[in-house]
C-alpha cells in the first residue's frame, strides 16, 4: 500500500532557459523551472501558498514567439519553449517596475529589493522628489498588528489569504481606484470594528512589511529590531489538538514574531489568533 496518493504520473517537459536545456514536470510554471535550474528571478506578488495574481510584473521573462513579456510566476512551462531571463528587454522592464514601485512605496522592509535595484540599475529618484507617495501614517488600531499603507504595493496577497484561498474571513479587499486604491476593511473602519479574526495570515504572506506584528513595528521604531540576532525555531502550537507548526522568532530570549512553515502539511503557513499571537504567557517572567 502506498503512503500518499501519488496522483497521475506527470510528464517531464523539455525546454530551454537562457539557452540551457532544462526539464520540468508538466504543470510547473516558468518560475518553478528557473528556481530548479538555479536562475534567480525577482518576485514580489508571487506566493508559494497562493495562486498567481500577476500584479507586480517584476518576474517577467521573454518567451520566444510571444509578443509581450510573460510573468514567470504564472505562465506554465511548455515543451520546446525558449525562455530568456536576462535580455535587455527583460532587464529594462524589471528596472522600470522597480523604479515605479520604489518611487511610490516605502520598500525599506522588503527583503532583497535593494539588491535588485542595484542589479537592474533602477533609479527610483529620477521621477523627482515630488513623485506621488501614499504619505499615510501607519495604522495602529489594535495591539497585535499594524497596517502601514506607505509600504503596500497592492499585490493582493493579503486579500487572497484572507479570502477564498485560505482564511475565508473576507475581512479585507481593495477599495478605491487608481492612486487612491488601498487594501481596506469594510467602510475603511478600524480593524477592531471589522470582520478581522486576527489570524495574521495576511502578515504571513505580505512581501513588503506593510503588515507587521506590533512587536516588530515597535522594535523597529525603537531601533532594537535585529534579525541577525534572532533565532528561528519550529515547534508545535500549545493550544488545540490540530498540531500547527509554529516558527518562533526569538531575540534576546523573547518571542518577537511567529510564522509557520509554508510547506507544512498541517498549516500550509496559516495559523489562528492563538497560535500566531498567544505566546505572551510563556514570557510573563516577572
Amino acid at each position: 500500500m502506498t503512503t500518499t496518493a501519488l496522483g497521475i504520473p506527470r510528464r517531464l517537459l523539455e525546454f530551454t532557459i537562457d539557452g540551457e536545456p532544462v526539464r520540468a514536470p508538466e504543470g510547473s510554471t516558468i518560475l518553478d523551472a528557473c528556481r530548479a535550474a538555479g536562475t534567480d528571478v525577482p518576485t514580489l506578488c508571487e506566493g508559494d501558498t497562493l495562486r498567481p495574481r500577476n500584479a507586480c510584473r517584476v518576474c517577467v521573462v521573454e518567451v520566444e514567439g510571444s509578443r509581450t513579456l510573460v510573468p514567470a510566476c504564472s505562465r506554465k512551462a511548455e515543451g520546446g519553449m525558449e525562455v530568456r531571463t536576462g535580455t535587455e528587454r527583460v532587464r529594462h522592464s524589471r528596472k522600470i517596475v522597480l523604479e515605479l514601485l520604489a518611487s511610490s512605496v516605502d520598500l525599506s522592509t522588503t527583503p532583497r529589493v535593494r539588491e535588485w535595484i542595484k542589479e537592474y540599475g533602477a533609479e527610483p529618484g529620477r521621477f523627482g522628489a515630488d513623485a506621488g507617495r501614499v504619505n499615510e501614517a501607519p495604522r495602529v488600531d489594535n495591539d497585535l498588528y499594524v497596517r502601514d499603507y506607505g509600504k503596500c504595493i497592492l499585490c493582493y496577497k493579503c486579500v487572497d489569504a484572507c479570502g477564498d484561498q485560505w482564511q475565508n474571513s473576507f475581512a479585507i479587499s481593495v477599495a478605491g481606484r487608481g492612486f487612491d486604491a488601498r487594501i481596506a476593511v469594510e467602510h475603511d473602519a478600524p480593524l477592531t470594528e471589522s470582520a478581522c479574526v486576527y489570524c495574521g495570515n495576511c502578515i504571513e504572506v505580505c512581501p513588503t512589511g506593510a503588515l507587521s506584528f506590533k512587536s516588530e513595528f515597535d522594535m523597529r521604531a525603537a531601533g532594537t529590531w535585529d534579525e541577525d540576532r534572532q533565532t528561528e525555531t519550529t515547534t508545535v502550537c500549545a493550544y488545540c489538538g490540530v498540531g500547527c507548526n509554529l516558527t518562533l522568532h526569538v531575540q534576546d530570549n523573547e518571542i518577537v514574531k511567529v510564522t509557520s512553515p509554508h510547506d507544512n502539511p498541517v498549516t500550509h503557513g496559516n495559523l489562528c489568533i492563538k497560535g500566531r499571537f498567544g505566546y505572551q504567557h510563556v514570557q510573563n517572567r516577572n
Binding site: 500500500m1 502506498t2 503512503t3 500518499t4 496518493a5 489594535n142 495591539d143 497585535l144 477564498d164 485560505w166 482564511q167 475565508n168 480593524l191 477592531t192 479574526v197 486576527y198 489570524c199 533565532t231 525555531t233 519550529t234 515547534t235 508545535v236 502550537c237 500549545a238 493550544y239 488545540c240 489538538g241 490540530v242 498540531g243 500547527c244 507548526n245 509554529l246 518562533l248 526569538v250 530570549n253 523573547e254 518571542i255 512553515p261 510547506d263 507544512n264 502539511p265 498541517v266 498549516t267 500550509h268 496559516n270 495559523l271 489562528c272 489568533i273 492563538k274 497560535g275 499571537f277 498567544g278 505566546y279 505572551q280 504567557h281 510563556v282 514570557q283 510573563n284 517572567r285 516577572n286
Partner: protein, 639 residues
C-alpha cells in the same frame, strides 16, 4: 463593549513550599522542595494518584506514567483528556480496537460529504477548518449538527439544530432512514461488522417523525442528511465535545460510529471518523500510557503478554488491573482512599465540572504537589509547587495531534529563574524514591518508548524531522503506513480483516440535569476563537476579540426576561450561582444559553455545570445544565 486588558499569570521561577495549608508559600531550594515532595508522596504509597499533562510532550507523559507505575506501583494515572475526549477513545477502541481518529486532515479536502457533529471547528480548531473549507471549495457538501447555529454552521449545506443531548435519537433516525432507503453498504456490513440485526431492531422505532419530536429538527432535514451521508462515495464524520461532554458521551460516540459502519465510511481514503482533540497533546498523553487502562503504545494492561514485556523492560511488577481515572480519583479523595496527588500542568480546581466540589476534595488531601509554569488555582492549594518549563517552547520532545501525527517540539526560549524541565523533575523525585533513571535527553526517552511501542517504533527523531511528523501506526523504520486507519476492514482475507467492528447498541438517555419550571433554560458550554480552556495560557495576550465572560441568550429570551446586553444577571443552577453580564447571540434559540469556561476567575461557569459522568469514560456533562436567570435587584450594566 468592555475593554479588558490581559490578565497576567506570572511564571513561577522558584520552588514554593509550606508546612501547612493555612500558611503562605515560601521560596525554597530545589533540594528542599524535592525532598518534601518525595516524603509527602512516599508516606501515601498505595493512596497515590498522578495527574499527567495533555499539554506536555509525549516524552514527559511517558516518564510520568512510568513514575506512577514503577515508582509508586499504581495505575492511577490520568489527565484532562478525561474531561474532553475520553469517550472518543473509549468508543473508537470498542469498535475498532484503537482510540485514534481514523482519517487525516488532507483527506477531508478530497471527500464528498462532511458532517460536523457537535463541533464548532471554525472557532475551536480553525486550521483544521481550513482543510474543511478546502473540501467545500473542492465540492464537498458539509452538514452541521449543533444546537447553536455556529460559525461552522454558516458554511453548511444544512444546519440541524438539535436539542442538547438528543444526539442518539438523531443518529438512530439517520441509521434507520439509511436502512429503510436501502442505502446500507451490505457488502461491508456483511464482511466487516457484527451485530447489524440487533442494531436494525434497536433503531427501528426511531422514525423521522419521532426523531423530529425529540430532537426538534425537521424530519426532512434528518432524512436529507441520511441520504447525503449514505450516498456519498467518500464521507467524513467529525465531532468534538458536543458529543463527548455528556453523561453518556461514549454512547454518543458509538451512535456516530454506527453510521460509518452502516455505510462503509471508514478505512478508506477520504472516508473516516475524526474526533477533533482539544489539547495539543491529548492524543499523545493517552498513546504514552498516561491513562489508567493502557500502557505506552495504547497496549491493554489486562493483556498478560503486554504486561510481561513492560515488566521486563522496566524491571518491575505492573498491577494487573486498571487504575482509577481522573473522575474516580476525585471520588476516591472523597472516600479517603486517595491521599496524595502529583499534579503536572493541570488545573482541575477550575476545569472540573462542579468546581467547588473539586476544590473541596483537593483541600482534603494529605499531600498535593503541583508542577506547573504558573501558580494556578490548583497550585494555590498545594503543599509543594515545582516550577516547570513550557513544553511547547522551552523543551525538546514530541507531541501527537488529532490526525495521530507525531511532531517535534523544540526549545526556542530559555525558561525563567530556576524553572526546570518536567522530565528532570520527575527523575529527581524517582531517584529520591529509589529509582535512578538516566535519560541523556528527550530523544533517549523517545527511543525507550519506541522500544516498547510497536506503533511508534519506526519514528526516529531524524525521520520525524524529515517528514514533518509521522502518523502512527509506524512500525517500520523504512516505510510509512497509509494516512487512514482500519484499511484491514476491507481486506478480502477474513484472517487479515481481523476482529469485526461491532455496532454499538446504545439507547437514548436525556441529560441528567432536567429543565423544569425552576430551571427552565438549557445551558451549554464551549470555546471562543481567541481563548482557551481556563484562560491561564490565553488570558495574557492582548486579543482585540476578548470580551470576557457573558451569559449568551437569544434575542427572544432576552426580551422575555427583560434584560439587555451588558446587564449583569444572576445565573443559577441546582449546584451554584454566578453573576454574569448578558450577551445576545442570534445563533441561539429560545431556551438555550451559552457560556465558556475561559474566565473562571471572573465568572466560574463550572460552579454551574453538573458532575454527571459517563460511566465508561468518566467525562462529565459540561454540555447540558439546567439554569435560570434572575434580574439583579438593582440593574447594573457593564459596557
Amino acid at each position: 463593549m468592555r475593554k479588558r486588558g490581559p490578565r497576567n499569570y506570572t511564571r513561577l521561577t522558584h520552588p514554593l513550599v509550606r508546612d501547612s495549608r493555612d500558611e503562605p508559600f515560601r521560596q525554597a531550594s530545589w533540594q528542599e522542595a524535592l525532598d518534601r515532595a518525595a516524603r509527602g508522596i512516599a508516606r501515601n504509597r498505595g493512596k497515590f494518584g498522578m495527574f499527567s499533562c495533555a499539554r506536555a510532550t509525549n516524552e514527559m507523559n511517558y516518564v510520568a506514567q512510568k513514575f506512577a507505575r514503577v515508582v509508586m506501583g499504581t495505575n492511577n494515572v490520568d489527565s484532562c483528556n478525561r474531561t474532553c475526549h475520553a469517550p472518543s477513545v473509549a468508543g473508537l477502541s470498542a469498535a475498532f480496537g484503537s482510540g485514534g481518529g481514523t482519517s487525516s486532515y488532507e483527506e477531508i479536502e478530497h471527500t464528498d460529504v462532511i458532517v460536523m457533529w457537535g463541533s464548532n471547528a471554525r472557532f475551536a480548531h480553525p486550521i483544521f477548518f481550513q482543510h474543511v473549507l478546502k473540501g467545500i471549495r473542492n465540492g464537498a457538501r458539509m452538514y452541521a449538527v449543533d444546537p447553536r447555529r455556529t460559525s461552522t454552521a454558516e458554511w453548511a449545506e444544512s444546519w440541524l439544530g438539535l436539542n442538547v443531548g438528543t444526539d442518539i435519537p438523531m443518529a438512530h433516525a439517520v441509521g434507520r432512514e439509511i436502512i429503510h432507503a436501502g442505502l446500507v453498504n451490505e457488502a461491508f456490513v456483511e464482511r466487516a461488522t457484527s451485530g447489524f440485526e440487533e442494531y436494525k431492531a434497536l433503531v427501528e422505532p426511531w422514525t423521522l417523525s419521532l426523531a423530529e419530536k425529540v430532537t426538534g429538527v425537521p424530519a426532512a432535514a434528518i432524512g436529507e442528511l441520511a441520504h447525503a451521508y449514505a450516498r456519498a462515495e467518500r464521507a467524513q464524520l467529525c465531532w468534538t465535545l458536543g458529543i463527548t461532554e455528556h453523561h453518556n458521551g461514549t454512547d454518543n460516540v458509538r451512535a456516530l460510529i454506527n453510521l460509518s459502519l452502516l455505510t462503509g465510511h471508514v478505512g478508506r481514503y477520504g472516508s473516516g471518523l475524526q474526533p477533533l482533540r482539544g489539547q495539543n497533546n491529548v492524543q499523545g498523553g493517552g498513546d504514552m500510557g498516561a491513562i489508567p487502562n493502557r500502557l505506552p503504545g495504547f497496549q491493554d494492561i489486562l493483556d498478560a503478554g503486554v504486561r510481561h514485556k513492560f515488566e521486563s523492560a522496566w524491571d518491575t511488577v505492573i498491577q494487573p488491573h486498571y487504575g482509577l481515572n481522573l473522575t474516580e480519583m476525585f471520588e476516591a479523595m472523597e472516600e479517603g482512599t486517595l491521599r496524595a496527588v502529583y499534579c503536572i500542568g493541570e488545573n482541575p480546581a477550575q476545569s472540573e465540572a462542579d468546581s467547588e466540589q473539586a476544590v473541596r476534595r483537593l483541600k482534603a488531601l494529605d499531600f498535593l504537589v503541583v508542577q506547573d509554569i504558573f501558580l494556578t488555582r490548583t497550585a494555590e492549594l498545594a503543599d509543594v509547587v515545582l516550577p516547570a518549563t513550557a513544553g511547547w517552547a522551552e523543551t525538546e520532545g514530541t507531541t501527537t495531534n488529532s490526525e495521530r501525527r507525531v511532531q517535534r517540539v523544540r526549545r526556542a526560549v530559555a525558561p525563567p529563574g530556576e524553572a526546570r524541565e518536567d522530565i528532570d523533575i520527575i527523575c529527581e523525585l524517582a531517584a529520591r524514591l529509589g529509582h535512578e533513571w538516566k535519560y541523556a535527553d528527550a530523544e533517549a526517552v523517545w527511543n525507550e518508548l519506541r522500544s516498547v511501542s510497536p506503533d511508534h517504533y519506526g519514528m526516529t527523531y531524524p525521520r520525524l524531522e524529515r517528514h514533518q511528523g509521522i502518523q502512527w501506526p509506524c512500525p517500520s523504520t523504512d516505510e510509512l503506513e497509509p494516512p487512514y486507519l482500519h484499511g484491514r476492514l476491507w481486506d478480502p482475507d477474513p484472517a487479515r480483516r481481523g476482529r469485526l467492528a461491532p455496532f454499538g447498541l446504545v439507547r437514548h438517555d436525556p441529560p441528567v440535569d432536567l429543565t423544569d419550571e425552576r430551571f427552565p433554560i438549557r445551558l451549554t458550554t464551549g470555546r471562543r476563537l481567541d481563548s482557551y480552556n481556563t484562560g491561564v495560557q490565553s488570558g495574557s495576550f492582548a486579543s482585540p476579540l476578548r470580551r470576557g465572560e457573558f451569559i449568551e441568550l437569544c434575542p427572544e429570551d432576552a426580551e422575555r426576561y427583560g434584560v439587555v446586553v451588558g446587564e449583569r444577571v444572576q445565573v443559577t443552577s441546582r449546584r451554584g450561582s454566578v453573576v454574569a453580564p448578558v450577551w445576545i447571540d442570534t445563533a441561539l434559540r429560545p431556551g438555550l444559553a451559552f457560556m465558556t469556561m475561559h474566565f473562571p476567575d471572573e465568572v466560574d461557569t463550572n460552579s454551574l455545570t453538573i458532575e454527571a459522568n459517563c460511566p465508561i469514560a468518566g467525562t462529565a456533562e459540561f454540555k447540558a445544565s439546567a439554569i435560570r436567570i434572575d434580574k439583579l435587584p438593582v440593574a447594573t450594566i457593564v459596557r
